[in-house]
């Protein structure tokens, strides 16, 4: 009996030590984890730097009856935005972030004007562009329920957007010759709560967020005086199901539901109901500490919202 007790006493600690060794990763290994296996927030002292590129073109929209329609006007608009983002682990449970976005906007339109009375016809083609810094975003993510051995975590986050981008049209010559603004002209605060669970090779996430707009004043129509405005607040629900295709490539599936409130212009509230349901499949390549994410966002359904897909590429490196 004594021998058995001694044997158990030897085996038990050894078993525990093994279990701990399996769980413990070196800092370098943590830096090389994928979007599926990475800690819920960056470890203390880690810095993730990245650049992102997004592209979309104006083509279709969902109307008030949730029918997908093509924009009727002869207009060609595309939006290219790129941003530099930095995330830093203040502690093992708190992550701070900074995103500096830039926008490159382009709109072109052409019109043939015929006036039979004077027997004249004129072709007008114009291009309007805008390029510059957009609204900077500062953020904090905190592990309210820290990631445990079952790899579950509850995260709360707050992101503050500062209206640093140009909010008004500039270099205005007339309605067809001016520079597009690259900022929204108002600050906003996004509060979010996320539940995350990792069950290798899978991870699941669910989150709810609310974006509060602070409003401001800006020129809404070229040539007119600035007016006060406040964009619609935004409720976001998100579900994500991610899994590894192999050791270094993860496939992410995000489904978003956006519900917009009402815009306010000059004290008047609109009555346009807006919502959108989006699906964003993503591929995330993890090459040591370097990561490439690619996503295409498809708008599955919506009401008074864009129906155009968007493409995003993100490059990241953990220091």
């Amino acid at each position: 009996m004594k021998k058995i007790i001694v044997l158990i006493a030897i085996i038990l600690p050894v078993s525990l030590v093994n279990a701990q060794v399996q769980e413990e990763l070196t800092p370098l290994e943590i830096k090389q984890t994928t979007v599926v296996t990475q800690p819920a927030t960056l470890k203390k002292g880690f810095l993730r730097a990245g650049a992102a590129l997004s592209f979309s073109a104006l083509d279709k929209f969902f109307d008030d009856d949730t029918e997908k329609r093509l924009f009727p006007d002869n207009i060609w608009a595309k939006s290219l935005s790129y941003q530099f983002a930095f995330q830093y682990g203040v502690s093992d449970r708190l992550q701070a972030s900074l995103a500096i976005p830039f926008r490159n906007e382009f709109i072109s339109q052409s019109l043939l004007l015929e006036v039979p009375l004077t027997n004249t016809s004129t072709i007008s083609s114009w291009e309007i562009k805008g390029n510059g810094i957009s609204d900077i975003e500062l953020g904090l993510i905190y592990q309210l329920v820290p990631e445990n051995i079952l790899r579950r975590a509850v995260l709360v986050s707050a992101f503050l957007t500062l209206p640093t981008g140009e909010k008004n049209p500039t270099d205005v010559v007339d309605e067809q010759n001016y520079t597009l603004p690259t900022g929204s002209g108002e600050g906003s605060l996004n509060l979010d709560m996320t539940l995350r669970k990792v069950n290798y090779p899978f991870s699941y996430e669910g989150s709810v967020g609310y974006n509060i707009k602070f409003g401001g004043t800006k020129v809404l129509n070229v040539g007119e005086e600035p007016v006060s405005f406040r964009s619609a607040n935004l409720l976001t629900l998100r579900g994500a199901y991610n899994f590894h295709l192999n050791e270094w490539l993860a496939f992410q599936n995000d489904v978003f539901y956006f519900s917009f409130g009402e815009d306010e212009v000059d004290g008047q509230t609109g009555d346009t109901k807006r919502w959108a349901l989006q699906y964003a499949p993503r591929l995330s390549f993890q090459i040591k500490r370097f990561r490439i994410n690619q996503a295409v966002t498809f708008v599955l359904k919506g009401r008074n919202s864009s129906a155009d897909p968007g493409y995003t590429m993100v490059l990241q490196y953990v220091f």
């Binding site: 073109a57 072109s108 052409s110 043939l112 295709l245 493409y311």
Partner: protein, 349 residues
Amino acid sequence: MRKYLMKIYLVLLICLVSNRAVGQVGDSILANETTLIRPLNVHKGQLRISGGYSLLISSTRYDAQGNKIDLSDEGFTNIGHMVDLEFNYGFTEFLQASMGINHLQQAERSRGIAIVTTPDDPINFNEIIERKGWSDIDLTLDFKAPFVTRQFDLVFSVGRSLPVAAHEPEQPEHQIENSGGFNNITYRFLNKAGQGTGAWILGVQSKIRTNKLGFTLEYSHRNFPDAGSNISWRGSLDNDVISYSSSNYDYQLGDQSRFQILSEYQAWSFLNIFLGYQTLRTGEGWTEITGVRALVEEQKRSAIELGAEVLVTPRLWIRQVASFPVGGENSLNPLILSTRASYNLFPFN
């Protein structure tokens, strides 16, 4: 009865074991193949299912002399989305059957026309030509030359494009709205993606490989032996009501040929980078859409392709290509960004 059941059991056991063995053999074959050394045909018993999405953005067109014209100068915009699906199955190591189909959604907007007859009643016309729907189905048989060496591959293809997809345009739609002081009339022409007539397909593909490099030459040709028949819609305004009527017309599509040269570099076992050039030519055809037979001029377009293929697992790979327009005649030439995934299995072995 017992003997009978025993025989069934033995047969099932043999099938199960052989199936596992062949499946494992199939997997081991795929596990040893990088993108570079993969044969142009699939293996015996191998089924490959490929699907992808492409974004097509046209910002330029080329005139008959090959001059590049910015579409925004002409007031045109053209954007498209295409989803494609392809199946390949290997009957033997040297004979493969392929089936391909795609779904296209494309919208072309032309310059708006504003007509001011009286200052109080200006009219603004917009026109959208939409092409949407499934394409015809391409069926081909691909014969691989029985070379022993892996350094060189040669494949001949013969097939038929089946005109199963809808090709007759739907009745156009219009919309009248009053905004900005204008009566805005928008016409939508709803075309389909089917060709309306079958085509014979002939092709040849060859590939030369070294340890790290590969060069592929491909030529394919489509011949439309028969003239097709379609309908065109005309609208007329009568008592403030726009009504539509259709009429039949015949047309003959010109032969289509495609030539591609591709050089590839196997950077790592899982990553293949490639650079290519391709040119597409559509020969002369004719159409009687205006009531008299009119020539449809030859069209050409060429592009440089840059892309990469990532071997995710031996069974799954992802290919991304950006195709940049570099020249053409009488045609639009879109920038194409495409992502395609292929999954491989041995289902019947």
